[in-house]
Amino acid sequence: MNAPARLLMNFEVTPTSHLLAEYQARGGYQAIEKAIRTMTPKQVTDTVTTSGIQGRGGANFSAGRKWGVINLNDGQPHYLCANADEGEPGTFKDRWILENAPHLLLESMLIAAYALQVRHAFIYIRGEFDLPYRRITAALEEAYAAGFYGKPLFGSDFTCDLIVYRGAGSYICGEASGLLTSLEGKRGYPRNRPPRLTVRGLYQKPTVVNNVETLSNLAGIINNGPDAFKATGTKKSPGTRLVSISGHINKPGVYEVEPGRPFREFIFDTCGGVPGGRKVKCIIPGGISTKVVTGEEVDRIRLDNEDLATVGSGMGSGGMVVIAEGTCMVRLLQVLLRFYHHESCGQCTPCREGMGWMHRIIDRIVAGQGVPEDIERLKQISAWNDGNTICGMGDAAGYAALGILAKFGHEFEHYITHKRSLCDGNLECRASS
């Protein structure tokens, strides 16, 4: 097989490679010039649609279709917001872009702003980010100084201003509508749809929220054309995906993968396999809200949405977590449910009550006080949340639980029956006794 395509991680990262001068030396800020000089806003949107690029924040929705809802002639302000809240556990690939390719994001946002006729754009960045925040704000200063932001561009009357808006410690602000409500200076409460955010978003105006990685692909799509983008990846998942891999893996980090290649190639060849040569017990492929994939399934499927769907999972947020043999899945689920409970915004009944309930059940199981019906109860609460909440977090917690229970239910039965873990309650990568 050919080497995987590189659309984003296609330069050598050095202590200065994130700076404007080097970005321009690599061809930076040519795509926005091309877009403004040779394309209409609608043509840009059509190009994005043609490319088939899907959202890389977790929801996988067609970016072009999302953009297409914006009516360029409605006389209303439109807003664009890059979702840099990256809070999905296991995910740190947007961070790579913010730290190492901030100008790629900034240029791509100009392209999107031009297409959507956006005068004011935002990057909502999670409040905890330290270096990524410093890098993106420094890059923005460079971009302003160079006249890319804040001034009419390339002889047109298109001007864009951008504000980097810092969150303050809330996972749910990574949900697009929660993000916008947070950007309005309030609690990050997600919103019911209808109306879609592209109809009524930030301050009730049409707003497009896109993931950092999704946006960062735009410069390449404009420079090289949508067909070149479609020629990479798979038919249904064109382009490449950034995958951040961590957990029980020898070479953790951010990698650019081309969907359609064997999953095991990525795990064992690219990322060096599991420390100590241990077996993969399971992998969380795309953030904890995607269902776990067993080691056996990893061996036989390709790393792309379609194959992952056949085993009930998906690429999700690109946050891949490898779990080695000997890890207690009951304790792992406890970590996840504790997280969801902590992060539930509390607005809607199923999630507010359900997350706490699931957390209390798993705590009880881990403490040796589980009862057989607890497994059914966790599944039932998950089902009660699926599709019945204001945002996807209730569903997500359910998927995390259902995935682990479906493939490792016997560990839960053991823990309940024997009041102790099959794997000594172990979470770290070491041989179980």
Binding site: H341, H342, S344, G346, Q347, G354, W384, N388
Partner: protein, 480 residues
């Protein structure tokens, strides 16, 4: 005009409506905790979900726009199962306080539990505890354990009363309704409406706390006399069949609480209306008097009649708390003898809100407009009556008897006990609003009726029948 189907039946809807609005307007009672016709859509309780025909899942109806030929089911198996699960989740941490909760008997959670076959909790884990009897303000007590975080109260203060004084602090299942720390909620003149709004027994009136079970009370339609807005209200008092024998008889004629009826401005009243009881729980005048000496009522009436017939320049200070019917009776029977001036029986008390942008009017009397419609001239405080006025008939409160012309005789008609009644030539005690029926006309010209809550005590007279008695001449009637 889109036509939708609910449970197979067609309904005409208006563009822009939601399925919930159409359903409720047509008597289909889709359950709802967080939805309220006067508030924005929150969509957080999730109990209102219905099934769109052909889909295997449910969606909330409060946020479902109507479209032509939309077909929804509100009572399919899927919806019924779903509702039971929502009730399980809603009651997961809800304390079963029904036995001691004021809301019992009018609680949506209770009602839906019965109507939709809620099942006992399947949880094995202890309920999450929270603050109970938190003083949200001196008037409103909040039990956070009972609260289901529907946020109706929060939205009310932001959208209706505009005090913006309530919110939700923390997050997840430790979320709490709280008032802003500057105590603004205590200064919200409409705060008590949250008690009606709250679908469960979380927000309670401190004044009403533990006073009575609601099923011992009956509501009687009335009109709040607190200002010229004249909100339609229900006055709640003990049902006759639940009379308390052992305790003081006073309890049986107490107004236990006040709730709004439908009004053009919505189902809201201000806090003054909630305190209706304070209008009527004052010392009453029970005894007719002649120059300070107690006499039988008919004796006082005879004396008054004589004074009226003998007066050459009598003035009447008309009560702005009189009902339209009483005013009409005076007009028809006695007015031609008198110069009539309408007075304001009550003025704003120190610290009382004068007028605001919402409901509260500066005129603190319920029927000024009705009185002026019969008698166009007003009396202002300090306005001296002419020296040749020889009889002053004071109807109601708000006129200082000492300011009557020195040579004038005085007849005072009043429900409330005052030391000055003994200085009048004649004093006759009147009935109060809760003891009779009538109508008031508010400042906009809207006429609203009130009914009697209690039988009129024998010791007092209705102004209407009093005027008939006063009009009867002592001279033999001329042949007709």
């Amino acid at each position: 005009m889109p036509r939708i189907f609910i449970d197979g039946k067609p309904y005409e809807a208006k563009s822009g409506q939601t399925v919930m609005e159409v359903a409720r307007a047509n008597g289909v009672d889709i359950p709802a905790f967080c939805w309220h016709p006067e508030l924005s859509i929150a969509g957080n309780c999730r109990v209102c979900a219905v099934q769109v025909e052909g889909r295997s899942w449910v969606e909330i109806s409060c946020n479902m726009p109507v479209t032509e030929d939309l077909k929804v089911l509100t009572d399919s198996d899927i919806v019924r199962d779903y509702r039971k699960s929502i009730l399980q989740l809603t009651t997961l941490n809800h304390p079963v306080d029904c036995g001691i909760c004021d809301k019992s008997g009018e609680c949506s959670l209770q009602d839906y539990h019965y109507e939709h076959n809620g099942t006992p909790s399947i949880s094995r884990d202890a309920k999450v505890h929270s603050t109970k009897f938190h003083k949200l303000s001196p008037r409103i007590t909040l039990d956070n354990e009972r609260c289901i975080l529907c946020t109706r109260c929060v939205r009310f203060t932001h959208e209706v009363s505009k005090s913006k004084s309530l919110g939700v602090v923390q997050r997840g299942d430790t979320s709490l309704i709280r008032g802003s720390e500057d105590g603004a909620f205590a200064r919200d003149d409409y705060s008590d409406n949250v008690v009606d709004l709250c679908p469960v027994g979380a927000l309670l009136s401190t004044a009403f706390l533990y006073k009575s079970r609601v099923w011992y009370l009956k509501p009687t339609p009335s009109v709040c006399p607190g200002c010229a807005r004249g909100c339609a209200v229900d006055l709640w008092h003990r049902k006759p069949e639940w009379k308390l024998h052992a305790l003081e008889a006073r309890k049986n004629v107490a107004i236990e609480r006040v709730t709004p009826r439908e009004n053009p401005h919505g189902p809201w009243i201000c806090n003054k209306g909630r305190d209706y009881a304070s209008f009527v729980e004052r010392p009453r005048a029970w005894q007719a008097m002649s120059a300070g000496t107690p006499v039988a009522t008919h004796t006082a009436i005879d004396a008054a009649r004589l004074l009226i017939e003998g007066a050459r320049n009598p003035f009447v200070l008309v009560s702005s708390w009189a009902s339209n019917e009483e005013l009409a009776a005076f007009r028809n029977l006695l007015a031609e003898r008198f110069t009539a001036l309408v007075k304001a029986d009550r003025l704003a008390q120190p610290g009382e809100p004068m007028e605001d942008a919402f409901l509260i009017r500066a005129d603190k009397n319920p029927n000024t407009r009705g009185a002026l419609a019969q008698f166009p001239n007003e009396w202002e405080i300090g306005m001296a009556l002419p020296a040749d006025c020889d009889l002053v008939l004071v109807w109601g409160e708000g006129f200082d008897l000492a300011s009557a012309p020195p040579k004038a005789r005085t007849i005072v008609l009043d429900a409330w006990d005052k030391p000055t009644h003994a200085t009048a030539d004649v004093f006759i005690p009147l009935s109060i609003q809760t003891e009779r029926a009538g109508t008031y006309t508010n400042f906009e010209g809207r006429v609203t009726a009130f009914e009697a809550c209690f039988p009129k005590p024998d010791a007092v007279v209705d102004a209407e029948s009093l005027f008939a008695s006063l009009a009867r001449s002592t001279l033999p009637a001329a042949a007709e």
